[in-house]
């Protein structure tokens, strides 16, 4: 189902020669790859291959010892996560990182923080521009809530939601940022078939409707083959393949490292 009609654009993110280690553990060694505008890139590889670390490097949670990242034309070695957010990079986490004490709606509203300009004194008054801003952003969030079909849990504290719904809320929070680049860390892990199908549909719709570029980590090869335009394979912190789903599926090294083994 590679979408022929979709216009894949220029290189948006260029990852060059990234190496990252934690003490003695080498998580990434000399990894280079590109992400192009509007594409869906899947990152696959066995557990511990360094996939999550790669996403963490891209949005500034981890700081690589070597290498550089060029995003939207500007190159940097390190950046803080909030700067990445400002530049339009959003993400979800492998182990859901929702704000447990807050409702679904409030969690999604936090995704709008960067869009809100009034300072806390206006907010203390909750009047005029501050109230207007609150309502405008609420409207954006309500659209996302409708899109993700989670109207019924709007006011539920997220801690009480089942796992699948939490993943959906986390996607909602990332979408509320209106990102240009969306990083999804195993968005479908631990879901049943039905939930996976829903999630696939959301990912494709986001990519289709808003042209959002997506890099996602996924273990389910069926899903990967279905939704991604390109696949990159990591193994022991190295990139071992990068190409269309069909190319990667046929690659002998990939088969040895990953596909042959059942997970």
């Amino acid at each position: 189902m590679s979408q022929a009609h979709k216009k894949i654009g220029d290189i948006m993110l260029k990852v060059e020669d990234i190496s990252l280690s934690f003490g003695g553990v080498r998580a990434l060694s000399g990894v280079s790859f590109d992400v192009r505008e509007h594409e869906i890139l899947a990152i696959i590889g066995p557990n511990g291959a360094g996939k999550s670390s790669m996403l963490n490097v891209i949005n500034g949670v981890y700081h690589p010892q070597e290498g550089a990242i060029t995003y939207k034309g500007s190159t940097r070695k390190q950046m803080r996560p909030h700067q990445a957010a400002k530049q339009g990079i959003a993400r979800t986490f492998q182990n859901i990182a929702l704000f447990k004490g807050m409702s679904t709606l409030d969690n999604i509203m936090t995704g709008r923080l960067l869009k809100m300009r009034r300072n806390f004194l206006w907010q203390a008054l909750y009047w005029g521009p501050a109230q207007k801003e609150e309502i405008e952003n609420r409207m954006v969030c309500e659209k996302i809530i409708d899109f993700l079909e989670i109207q019924a849990i709007r006011k539920t504290p997220v801690g009480r939601l089942p796992y699948g719904l939490q993943k959906r809320v986390e996607l909602g929070r990332a979408l509320a940022m209106e990102p240009d680049l969306l990083l999804l860390d195993e968005p479908m892990a631990g879901m049943n078939v039905e939930e996976k199908e829903d999630m696939c549909r959301f990912v494709l719709d986001v990519n289709d409707e808003f042209g959002t570029t997506i890099a996602l980590i996924e273990h389910d090869m069926g899903v990967v083959m279905d939704i991604s335009d390109r696949v990159m394979v990591l193994d022991y912190g190295r990139k071992i393949a990068d190409g269309s789903p069909d190319e990667v599926r046929a690659d002998q090294e990939v088969i040895d490292a990953y596909l042959g083994v059942s997970h």
């Binding site: 929702l98 004490g101 509203m109 936090t110 709008r112």
Partner: protein, 355 residues
């Protein structure tokens, strides 16, 4: 049957986001305000106004301040009384050194000075969390206490270290009676409580809670951690500073460092644990509880034990009850009395059909 939202449909997000979305709650708050502003001053005697209601309100304000920092932003602080002391001494020094400033403005400036001190002692919060941060704020508490005791400038070189609070005069009116002082305190607390409620239901409140619940994710959505934490320290210390100024001027009538020792900090921490972490209402409930418990115990013991329990035993009993309640709330219901009240309301909404 009477407390429910049936028939109250919200046609706009503005209505849904209003401060008390359920009409009965709105009504309830108005009734409480009317009672507090009109009825209480008419019926309450001097003792109640001066010795129970006024300190209750001031404690509520300090608890609100601590709750913003600890309950909402998740930064544990044991320096509350220290920041209150800053407020009290700042107000005093402003008043004796620049007598032209009206006292109410002194209070606001004192709050701002406390906020600045709060920011200073909040700086370590970027690096340290939880227990270690608590220890750092404890250092702030001891340092500030030491400063006001030892550095004579702050007490204007008074020999005893205990200063009578200057009179509070505005437009020729002196706030000297219990009633006027109660109303002054009530007005300040009502305004600041409203502001706090507004902040916690806005962007800044969500940013605080995000930092509290999951700081990595908070940073990833664009929150600047240090900025957000320091703002929590500033706002919190502003509230505590004003509470401290009120404590000295309105309640004690003296400005003395001993009124703001470490036990005061713990007392206010207990209030928000019992009342409810991360709840505006909880700050009031916790303060009420701690102010009223000794009185209730006293009365209960004189009724049932006929006054045979000594004051000593009673104060021990008080500590035992506090201790057990704090353990109870920490383990069973971290959201405190405010949560119990909410559960009661939910039950009531479903009544008489609990399923």
């Amino acid at each position: 049957m009477f407390y429910r939202e049936a028939g109250q449909f919200k046609a706009s997000y503005a209505a849904d986001q209003s401060i008390f979305p359920i009409a009965q709650d709105r009504f309830g708050v108005l009734v409480i305000l009317a009672v507090a502003f009109v009825f209480v001053p008419l019926v309450a005697n001097e003792y109640w106004l001066r010795s129970i209601l006024t300190p209750f309100l001031i404690f509520s304000l300090a608890a609100l301040g601590l709750n913003i920092l600890t309950g909402y932003a998740g930064q544990l602080s044991l320096g509350t009384a220290g920041f209150m002391a800053v407020g009290a001494f700042a107000a005093y020094n402003l008043q004796i050194r620049i007598p032209e400033i009206p006292f109410i403005l002194d209070f606001v400036l004192a709050g701002l000075i406390a906020a600045a001190v709060g920011i200073l002692f909040g700086l370590p919060s970027l690096r340290i969390k939880g227990f270690y941060l608590a220890v750092a704020t404890l250092a702030a508490q001891f340092f500030l206490e030491w400063l006001f005791t030892r550095v004579g400038w702050f007490t204007n070189y008074s020999s005893s270290g205990v200063i009578t609070a200057p009179p509070m005069v505005m437009f020729g009116f002196e706030f000297s009676g219990a009633q006027s002082r109660y109303l002054l305190t009530l007005s300040i607390v009502a305004v600041l409580a409203l502001a706090a409620k507004n902040m916690v239901r806005s962007e800044i409140g969500r940013a605080w809670m995000a930092v509290r619940d999951m700081d990595v994710a908070a940073e990833v959505i664009g929150i600047r951690l240090l900025h957000t934490k320091l703002l929590a320290f500033a706002v919190s210390s502003f509230y505590c500073g004003i509470a401290g100024a009120l404590w000295a001027y309105v309640y004690l009538g003296t400005v003395e460092p001993q009124a703001f020792d470490i036990f005061r900090s713990f007392e206010i921490l207990f209030m928000i644990i019992i009342g409810g972490l991360g709840s505006i209402l909880g700050s009031f409930l916790g303060a009420a509880f701690i102010v009223l418990l000794p009185i209730v115990l006293n009365n209960v013991s004189s009724i049932f034990a006929g006054g045979t329990l000594s004051a000593h035993t009673l104060s021990h009993l008080e500590l035992v009850i506090f201790g057990s309640l704090i353990i109870f709330f920490l383990i069973v219901e971290p959201a405190g009395l405010a949560r119990l009240w909410q559960i009661a309301k939910e039950k009531f909404r479903l009544w008489p059909f609990p399923y």
